[in-house]
Amino acid sequence: MTTTPTSPGDVTLGPAAELLDALAVAWTTFQLYPNPADQPIFDRSVSTIAQAVASVPMLVVRSGSFAVDGIDVPAKREGVDRLARRFFVHDVETLHFQGAPSAHELLELFRILGLEEHQILSAGGLKAAAGAAGVVALQFSQRRMLSEEPEEDFFRDADVAETIDQGGDPEEFAARMLEEAGRDPSRLAKVFGTSYRQVYAKVSDEDTSGREEVVRAYVEAFDYFPREHKIAVLENFIAEKDDGDVLVFLDQFPGHELAELSPDLDPHSFSLLIEYARVTKDDADARPEELLPLLQPEGQVRQARRMVAERVGERLKEFGAAAPEGAETIFSAVGRQLPRDVDQFEVGIHVIRGLFECEERPHRFRRVVRIWTGRTVAYIRAKEWTRARAWMAAVLEDPPYQPYYASQVEEAFQATATPDLLRLLVNATGGDDAPEVGDLLRWWGPVVVDELVEMLATEESSGTRRVLIDLLVEVARDDVRRFIPHLEDERWFVVRNLAIILGRSGHHRVGPQLRTLLKHPDHRVRVEAMRGLVLIADGAVEVLIGALSDSHERVRQNALNLLRTQQLAGSEATIVDAITGDGTGASERQGLVDVLARIGTPSARAALEELAGRKVVLRPAQRAIRDAARAALEEKETT
């Protein structure tokens, strides 16, 4: 009879107390009487339990009591606490009555409770032992150990436990199976194979030690079989070599042991054995690889069989005989391969590249990156510039990692570039290792623009400023995007630096930004923006002529000076317009006459002559232009 499990909320603790009292009485009776089932009190207890069981929910085992829903069951019999302790030490966590237990089930339960602890453990715990004894009305759950690494709660089948026990004496285990098979090889193969498969299948997945012991028991028993019987068993197993359970058994044998048996296998089994060896070759230890010589052409198989089966000691002796030279010669053969001087650093580069190449797990890849950046920083701090450069190059040049990790590498690399580290590098740019340091800064440059721009802003040494600007110019040649946000900086000198860098980068994309800077409030910024635009040859003449009307003299003067350095052929009309227009100051217009004279083209000369030949000029400024044009023409004629 089975009952529906009852929840604690449905009941009072009364039935549970009644049941436990009855259980304790039955247990005490079991302990006191040789035939407890014959005692009326035992019968009464069984009946009481049967009546109460439907109303009793799951019982939690405590060290000296039973509880329901966290409340101790108020049992009266003193045997109850001993019973609870007994369950507790066997790691029973809960008891649940699935139905009324029979007298036989209770007797079996009490018998198991009376066993030595090691006997219960070897049976897989009380739960397993009770299950194996046919106690089904009462279900247990086992408590997890107080271990840091709790073991899984697994059930060990009685057959598994028995096999493990028999494995303790493999010779006896083998003899028993031989007897069961009537010493007939083919019957033994069936008995052995069936038994192995059945027991192995009963091992719980979590019972790793049980699995090991079961396989061990059969393998060691196999060793005690006569050769003829071994062959039969092996043929039986190799026929099912694709079965995982069977493979575990076969894997226990090294190749030479299987090879020793192989000459007596039937042809089909022999071919299966070879197939097994070929597939297994790639697995751990490559143990059956020794079988592979058997794969040679048919004519050589016999010899190959003999070779792999021969006594290893003799083979090793043959090996020794094949090498008549003495030990010194053998050792020196290796000695000749030894590198004279092992360069640890080079080996390290090999390792770090290898790690970058093979590490695919994101969290471990991050670790590899940290190892690499950490060592990079260490080399820089130690001012080992050559090593630092090589260490960085090992990863940055011809990257060994997968492309999708590129951004991760870059980010980590960027995070490493602290101001003090960059300062170390910048300060070292004038030293003996300048090329290496330069390379380091160049690699870092694109990712540390912000830091370098800030460093440039605060640097007092003009020499260091030059180094920084040169470095940033190189960076900007590849990519100017990181510089653009700095153009919004409120500090004029920062913006000026940027204008210098962007201009020298020669990058056409920065034209619009530099043009914007021509309107910057600070004239020093405007000067550099103008210079920059000239360098990138972005409408230089218009810019310079426009700058001649700037409010600040320095800007105008610089614009004029720059005009003198430019190739202005084709711009004569523009210059003449500027000279004759109203937007430009008198001195700048005179300067433009000089510029016009320097152009030297026929149209420039014609323009000069036109300016010089004007008859009527009313304003002094116009006269000054005419005079300047005449002077320029005269100078040209004299030269």
């Binding site: 107080l146 894997d251 190749g255 053998i330 290796v334 590198p339 093979c358």
Partner: protein
């Protein structure tokens, strides 16, 4: 005195200490360990009525006798006892189970109470150095124990994510280097010590010893030997990041599990690169490449311009040898001789043929630590190969045909008198426990 009894006692005590830490009072696993300790204790006490287990200079002594192998095998327990200030444990017959439980709890640090029944007494009879057996424990064995401790510390640090210092590892390698150079035969014998519980630690120390020994023979200089040693000792450190369930899975692993296992070389290299500054790159490379094969296959898969570094190739050879000769959760152990055969088969493909030849030459046909069955059934442990005559094997006879252990005696056996090879587990012989006898051989 039989050291086997002491080993049983210490093994049970170690288990009890572990159980006391993990489980509540009265747990059956604790009781079981205590029961075993009780039985072993009575065997140790014997007819004398009492026995004193002492600790001095990182070694266990029973009464006055040094217990060299137990000191190594239970090195962790020894350190725990020292940390609790225990110098002597006197066992009086009949030893009470409660006293043994109290002793375990005291060592575990779960209580400060001493055993109260009076059958287990702590520090009651302190011993002086002069009272103890004058024979010192092999320096090699001490170095081995120290290396284990260093590895425990390193892995403990890694487990907590705190990284580790290479200083301790360097120091451990120095010790092994010093002793393996002066006692190469003994070191090869000691390198057969195994532990199923702490496989990786013992395997790593064995690989380190073997790598240092072969490295020295082929002419690697001391500075580079240190690097090889560090790499060898830490070559499997990456396994700390592999799930224990996978490492101990007693069967064929699926592809996912294999994938995880195959990550351990790169994990190890990362750990060493992160822990060590400049100067330990060779060690990191050894960890990185110890599963890379000579023919360019293996793992991890990276672009290579040639075979792995020669030091990695060297460690790969000895790593394979020790792995094959050790029982694992997923397969049986092989005899040393069989392991050499595997190497021979893979020479030129998986392993550098010159290194395999040199290694086999160093180890001999029957390497030190081989357990051989002789005509007539006696069992011997090989201690060294005979350099003058390859047809002779030198060692010590340890067991009679009837199966009883005997006082070890030196033997030189013609190779044709060998009828078979045995595995330690099957024969009950632990080759490395005969180290001290080997060292005293002429």
């Amino acid at each position: 005195m039989n050291e086997q009894d002491v080993r049983r006692f210490l093994g049970s005590l170690r288990r009890a200490v572990r159980q006391v830490r993990l489980y509540p009072d009265g747990h059956p696993l604790t009781d079981e360990a205590v029961s075993a300790a009780e039985t072993a204790a009575e065997a140790i006490i014997g007819a004398d009525g009492e026995a004193a287990l002492s600790i001095m200079d990182d070694a266990f002594y029973l009464n006055r006798s040094l217990l060299p192998h137990s000191s190594l095998e239970f090195n962790g327990l020894l350190h725990e006892m020292q940390a609790r200030g225990i110098e002597t444990v006197t066992l009086l017959s009949v030893v009470s189970r409660q006293d043994l439980t109290d002793l375990a709890a005291f060592i575990a640090g779960t209580t400060g109470d001493l055993p109260a029944d009076g059958t287990v007494r702590l520090n009651e009879r302190p011993v002086s150095r002069a009272e103890l057996e004058a024979v010192p424990m092999s320096g090699l064995r001490k170095s081995y124990a120290s290396s284990l401790e260093v590895l425990r510390s390193v892995t403990g640090s890694m487990a907590t994510g705190s990284g580790f210092e290479l200083g301790g590892v360097v120091w451990a390698v120095e010790g092994l280097l010093e002793h393996s150079l002066t006692q190469s035969s003994a070191s090869l014998l000691l390198a057969t010590v195994k532990s199923h519980d702490e496989y990786t630690f013992f395997h790593s120390v064995n690989v380190c010893i073997l790598a240092l020994t072969i490295g020295r023979l082929v002419g690697v200089d001391d500075a580079m030997l240190r690097q090889i040693g560090i790499g060898a000792l830490l070559h499997d450190i990456g396994k700390m990041s592999v799930s224990v369930r996978i490492l101990q899975y007693p069967g064929r692993l699926d592809q996912e599990a294999w994938k995880e296992i195959k990550l351990h070389p790169q994990e190890g290299a990362q750990a060493i690169m992160a822990a060590g500054g400049s100067g330990n790159e060779v060690a990191a490379n050894v960890a990185f490449e110890h599963h890379a094969r000579f023919d360019g296959t293996g793992y991890p898969t990276v672009t290579r311009s040639g075979p792995p570094h020669i030091f990695s190739r060297l460690v790969s050879v000895v790593d394979t040898y020790d792995a094959i000769t050790t029982r694992r959760s997923y397969r049986r152990a092989e005899t040393p001789n069989r392991a050499l055969n595997v190497l021979l088969n893979g020479a030129g493909a998986a392993w550098d043929p010159d290194l395999v030849r040199a290694f086999i030459r160093m180890m001999g046909v029957y390497p030190a630590g081989s357990i051989l069955q002789l005509q007539g059934g006696d069992v011997m442990v090989v201690t060294t190969q005979d350099d003058t005559d390859p047809d002779l094997v030198r060692g010590i006879r340890v067991k009679r045909a009837a199966g009883d252990f005997i006082e070890p005696e030196p033997v030189v056996v013609p190779i044709e008198h060998i009828t078979g090879q045995l595995l330690p587990e099957r024969s009950g012989v632990d080759p490395s426990s005969y180290l001290e006898q080997t060292e005293s051989l002429p």
